[in-house]
Amino acid sequence: MTAVVYIPRDASALSLGAERVARAVASEASARGLEVRIVRTGSRGLMWLEPLVEVATPRGRQAYGPVQVQDVAGLFDAGFLEGQVHRLAHGPVEHIEWLSSQQRLTFGRLGVVDPVSVTDYAAHDGYRGLQAALAMPPAQIVQAVIDSGLRGRGGAAFPTGIKWKTVLDQSAAQKYVTCNADEGDSGTFADRMLMEGDPFALIEGMTIAGIAVGATRGYIYLRVEYPHAYRVLNEAIATAYASHYLGADIMGSGRRFELEVRLGAGAYICGEETSMLESLEGRRGEVRVRPPLPAIKGLFGQPTVVNNVISLASVPTILAKGAEYYASFGSGKSRGTMPLQLAGNVKRGGLVERAFGLTLRELVYDYGGGTASGRPVRAVQVGGPLGAYLPASQLETPVDYEALSGIGAMLGHGGIVVFDDTIDMAGMARYAMQFCAIESCGKCTPCRIGSTRGVELIDRVIAGIDRERNLGLIDELCDTMLHGSLCGLGGMTHFPVRSALRHFPEDFRRS
């Protein structure tokens, strides 16, 4: 009998040696005359166990990890193909508490399916949402997304269904659906994981969006730093065309939707929706003045849906299982689940998809296990480079949009970066200004010039030069950038800077 072994092809798993492990398993099997079929999957998101190797057994898939090449012979000796015990064994993967305690509505197929097999996708509830949508009038599809309470998972948290309704209400010869896959926030990798591990979920979500708003063409704007996702997406799109899930006659409905991937070129600002549209049109990614909203005048001047990867990939579940099902998860105005990403100096990092409402403490300690270094947690940054730094004393805050904004923070795209007590927060505040200077598109003066002046001011404060006056100037500069910038880059750099100053003032007064 052929044994089936699952080894991720996710970029993070590859970065830790998954490719070498896959080759070692194949060659060890053939040396021993054993028949083994290796299925390359996405990652389950347990990055602390990657490369995580799974073996199909009658008792479910058994997990082994983290596996390195030198462990492979020993795994064969121990009988891992029959799911036998080994030093790296974790039992059935679905029973690992880190995973079993999650609520995987959007990431349920990650690590389970072969990402580029459309039959595998369909066998795991794929394309049920699109099938349902094709039987509904457009307004009803849009209403389902509104009723689900889904808010933009890219960071801005705008209700997805409302955006769709605006586009649906426009009359135009050509409308577009664009996916913002320019996941530039440090500490985030949910989009990358989904595109590499379950690309059909995104393709299906975009197709549903197209059917709902009357758009026949879609673009995925992918950052160039994600070459693995680029290959998987293109392979999946070609397969979807070949099996009539994309093209002129989707699932025999006579409806059309065309989709292609466009690459960014290393510009953080292109994650801002109007910059992304400029870039898609082949220009410098400079922010556009709103209004008009992209939903009214977007790509090539036409009504355009701009949604993040996770927002779009959440839609198939909403259509397949109903808006009420999705909305039954979460709390307050934060409905559904959120893929949270534990990153930085954390012992058990990875992807945690849970209903809104769990606390940062549960994430950082119960899932994360504290710091990787074993030292005390000093700070966490929530929501990417424009998110606030929070001290350990604020970890009781629940993860939901309103609770975080209540303490001067924001959830953003759901990245949580953990720092231990060796971190110099003045250095991190300086880096926030420096990052803004490097990545500013240059359109608004407070962002373009202010960020450079901000670096200089922080340098003076650190050096103890006229400290109180310069601290006052930093505060004024933050206000100027906040009020004088068109988009979030200049407008939100004050979050990391001011939060570092507020919670960690001693780091600015060392000299």
């Binding site: 970029a11 970065s15 990798f189 160039v224 070129a265 290393g266 480079p385």
Partner: protein
């Protein structure tokens, strides 16, 4: 060390053919400039100054517009790179795992600063702001190859191993 601000060599006839092929391939694509620049850089390794006029003419843009786009995006290069490009992440999650120390080591070991190419032409060193490998920090990328939980020793090993292959 070779500063990457040095003037680019003139392009070969073969490179010009490649540029023309790219322009033909993308002539009917809407909003094609980034696609064109990616294709030129993928084929030649950088975007030669001589290509700007050709691209501008073919896409009905001004040379200033093409130049403006090339210089806006960090990824596009106007001079040749080393045989392999090493990008070390400088963003927060990697800082939490002390990527500054890794970066300083890489610069010392390769004897280059960021945006420079080693004297033997083997490596160019670039900063990058997030590779999406934030649970496995610090991270770096060599061409398309991602590496996580990098240490100084692992870096030396990588450089010793990958530098010999073109």
């Amino acid at each position: 060390m070779r500063p990457d601000a040095a003037p680019a060599p003139s392009v070969s006839g073969r490179a010009l053919d490649q540029i023309h092929a790219v322009l033909t391939r993308y002539k009917d694509v809407p909003g094609p400039l980034l696609e064109v620049l990616h294709a030129v850089q993928a084929a030649i390794g950088y975007i030669p100054p001589q290509s700007i006029g050709l691209i501008a003419d073919a896409l009905n843009l001004s040379r200033a517009e093409v130049h403006g786009v090339i210089t806006f995006y960090h990824y596009f290069r106007q001079v040749p790179a080393g045989r392999r490009v090493i990008r070390i992440c400088q963003a927060e999650a990697c800082r939490a795992m002390h990527c500054e120390a890794l970066t300083a080591h890489a610069k010392a070991r390769l004897r280059v600063d960021f945006h420079e190419t080693t004297a033997d032409g083997r490596y160019s060193l670039e900063p990058v702001y997030c590779l999406g490998n934030c649970a496995c920090s610090p991270a770096l990328m060599i061409d398309d190859e991602l590496h996580g939980r990098m240490t100084v020793d692992a870096f030396d090993e990588l450089v010793a191993k990958s530098g010999s292959a073109p």
